[in-house]
Amino acid sequence: MVSIIKKIEFKLISPQEAKKLAVMEVTKSDLYDNDGFPVEGGPMDPRLGVIDPGLKCRTCGLTMEGCLGHFGYIELVKPVIHVLYANYIYKLLKITCRKCSRIMTKKVTQPKKCPYCGEEQIPIKFEKPYTFIEGENILNPLQIRERFEKIPDEDLKDLKFLGGRPEWLILTLFLVPPVLVRPSITLETGERSEDDLTHKIVDILRINQRLKESIEIGAPDFIISDLWELLQYHVATFFDNSLVGIPTSRHRSGRPLKTLADRLRTKEGRFRHNLAGKRVNFAARTVISPDPFISIDEVGVPLVVAKDLTIPVYVTKNNIEFIKTLILNPSWPSANYIIRPDGRKKKITDENREEIAKEIAPGYIVHRHLQNGDIVLFNRQPSLHRVSMMAHRVRVTPWRTFTLNICTCPPYNADFDGDEMNLHVLQNEEARAEAALLMAVPKHIRSPRYGGPLIGAEHDHVSGLYSLTKDGTEVSRETALQLLFEIGVEVELPNKNKFTGKEIFSYLLPKDLNIEFKSKSGVKTVIKNGKLIEGVIDANAIGREKGKIIDILEKEYGTEEVHKFIDRVSKLGIKWLEKLGFTIGLDDFEIVSKENEEKINSIIENGKKEVEKLIEIYKKGELECLPGRTAKETVEVRIMQIVSGIINSVRKVIEDSGVFEKENCAIMIAKSGARGSLLHLIQIAGAVGQEQSLGERIHRGYTGRTLSHFKENDLSLDAHGFVGSSFKTGLKPYEFFFDAVSGRGSLMDKSLRTRHSGYLERRLMNALQDLKVEYDGTIRDNRKIIVQFNFGEDGIDPSKSNWGTIDIKSIVQKFVK
C-alpha cells in the first residue's frame, strides 16, 4: 500500500514526550561488564536495539534487519542549554520581562521598563556558544528556564512561537540515541571500538553522576557550578563539536570527536557525501590521449580496464558455446564471474575454469569482459550539457589511457594536458539500445544549442585538406592509391598517372552531392555530382560550426554518412600532411621585405608625430571637444582613431605586398581557417599594435605615468601601450611590460567571467531541470502544470533543424525541379 505524506511537522520535543519515546533510563556509565556483556542500564543496553546479527531485540523482538533501535534517556541533574537553539533563547530572553515574564513587544522606554509590571530591565549579553550575562551576573539555565516557564501562552501566540513551549529549549532530559546510530566496531584483535557518540554519552553520564553526588553530599557551590559547566560542555559538544569559543572535544588519541552536526554538514557528511554524491559500479576513470585514427564514435579502452569491467550475459542455448570459449580463455576476452540461477556468485579463476565451463547452462548469468564494439558511456566533468556524456563503441588497446578522436573534443571541452574522463559500462540490453540510439556520438554532430555542426574537422585536418585541394596540387598514382587505402576508400582508379588533390577528395563525397559556397578565403567552391570542380576545401567546408559540407551531409544524407565523412576527411588531412611534411618556423614569418619594413616604420613615425601635434593642441587648451565628452576624453578618442589608422595602414602594406598569395605553411594555417588569423600574422611580422586594459589605452601605474621610463603626464603613444615592434623583431622592455599588462588583464577577465556565467547557467538549469516536452508538444513541469504551449514558441528541436529554423525553400527545391 502506498500512502501519501500529507504533512510533515517539525517541532520541539517536550521532556514528557521524550520520556515516552524512550524505552529505558540510562544510568550507568559502564559499557560492558567483566564478561563482555553489555551492562543493564548502560549506554549499550540491549534494550536500545540490536547490532549483532542473529540476535533478537529485547524491546521489539525483531532481528537486526527489522529493528530500527530504541531511544533511552538520561535525567539531567541540572538543566543545560541546547546549543543549537542558543540563538533563539537569546532572542526570546531579550524580550522577556525579568520579573513577570511577559513578552515586551509594545513600547520601548529608556531605560527599558516592562510595560506590564514596570520592572526595570537589565540588558542581556550573549557570549557564544551558550553563556548569557545579565548586567554583571551569569544567568544559569535554571533561571532562564524559570523565566520561560512563566511566559503566558497568549504572548507566545502573538509572537508566533510555534511548535512547543520555550522552556523545552533548555534540556532537562537527554535522549540517548539507539545503538544503531552509533554501532561499535569489533577490531581484528577482538577489541571493541566504540562510536564517537557513545564516548560522548559516557562523558555525559559520568559528569551527571558526579554532579548528582556532589549535590547530595552538599559540596561547595563552586564545585557544583564547575561540574554543571562541564555537563553543559559535554551536552553541547554532543550536538556540535565544531562550536566557536569552546575547545573541541577530543578522542584519547587527540583526534576530534565526530558528533551529530559533523555527521550531517561536512563534505563527508550525510548531505554532500551520501545524498548529493552517489557512487556507481562498472565505471572507470583515467587520463585521455588523442588517436586520430579511431572513429569519432569509438573510445580506446586500456586492456587492464577491459579485463576488469564486465557485461552480464544471460546464457541461452544459442550463445552457450560462445560463452564457454570465453570462460576457457585464460586472458582477454574472458569472463570474471558467473551468477547461478539461485543468485549465488562464483568467481572464475585459472583453477576452476573448466569446471565452470561444464557447469553453465541456460539460466546462468556470465559477467564477460568488455569487448570491441560494446556500447559504453563516456563523460567529462563538468557535465554542463547533454553532449558532456555520449555513447561510444569500445576499442580495446594495449595502452594505459583512454583514447578518443580529436574531433570529439569540442563537445566534451577536452584537451590532453592531463584531462581525465569517466567510462560507464551499461548493464542491460535496454540501456544499451537506448544509448546507441539516443546518445551515440554521430547523433550529436548537430548541436542542440544552435543547430549547426558541433563536431567537424579540426586544425590539422583543415590545413591538410586546404593544402591537398588547392589549385596545382598533384600526386602520383602510387601516392593517390596509398592515401585512399589508408583512409579506407576502396575504389578503382582511372588509368592515369597524375591525380589532382581535388580528385582524391572527391572520392569521399556521395555521388549525387551538389553544392556551391564561398570558401574562407573568398573563392567560390563548387561541388557537382560529388566531384570538387572548383575552389578549395577549408574551414568553411569541413570545419566545426561552419562546415557547409558537414552541414549538408548531416541534413540530407543522415548521421551515418557524416560520421563516415568526418572519419575519412580527418584521416585524409593528417595522412596528406604526413606525406607533405608540414611545419612552421621563423622563416615562415619572413613576409615583410626590407622596403616594406621601412614603410611600416615611417607609418608609425608619422602616426606618432600626428599624435604629438594633437597633444600640443590639447595642452594649449585649443582642442574642440566631441559632443558629450570632456577635452581629456576627446583626446583619447582621437588618439585611438589615429592608432587604428596606423594599424590599418600597416596591414595594407603587408597585404598589398602580395605575400599572402605565396602561401607558406604559416599563411596556409591562417588562410584555411585551421587556426589563427591574418591579424596574428601581422602581429608577428609587422607590428603588435595598441595594448589595452579595461577597454582603454593603458593608464594605470604611477601618478601621471605608466612606467618610470616616461615623464609625468606624457600622453604619447609609447607611454600608453602602443607596441610598434613586431613579435619577430622583439619588443622593447616597456613594450613587453604593456603586453604583459594586457595579457594578465584578459586572463583574469576570462577566468572571472567563465566562473560567473557558469554559476548563472547552473542556477538556470536547476530551475528548469524538471521541465519536459510532453507528447502533446506542451512543456510541463513535474506537477504537469503547463509552462509553454509549444517548445520555443515554434516547436522546433534545434538539433534537428537548420541553424534553429526549417529551411523550407531548399526542401521544396529538392522535390520541385
Binding site: D776, T778, R780, R783, K784, I785, I786, V787, Q788, F789, N790, G792, E793, D794, G795, I796, G804
Partner: protein, 83 residues
Amino acid sequence: MKGININKEILDHYLVPKHIILNEKEKNELLQKLNISEQQLPKISINDPIVKLIGAKEGDVIKIIRKSHTAGESIYYRLVVKI
C-alpha cells in the same frame, strides 16, 4: 491598488501583447484540447494592470498573442487568479 488609475495607453504600447478573454465555450474547448484542469494553466494575477484594463474576472482564461523571435507569432493562455 486603490486610487491608482491605470493608463489606457499601455494597451497600445508595442511591448504589450494582445490580450483577449476567452468565453466559456472557448475556455472549455481549450481545456479539453490540452486535457487539463484549469489549475494546470499558467497563471496571471487579478491585480495585473492588463487584467484590470480588459476587465477579466477570477477564473477567466486570457489568450495572449505575442510576437516571437522564433515563430513570428505565438499564442499563450493564462488563468486569472487572486494574488
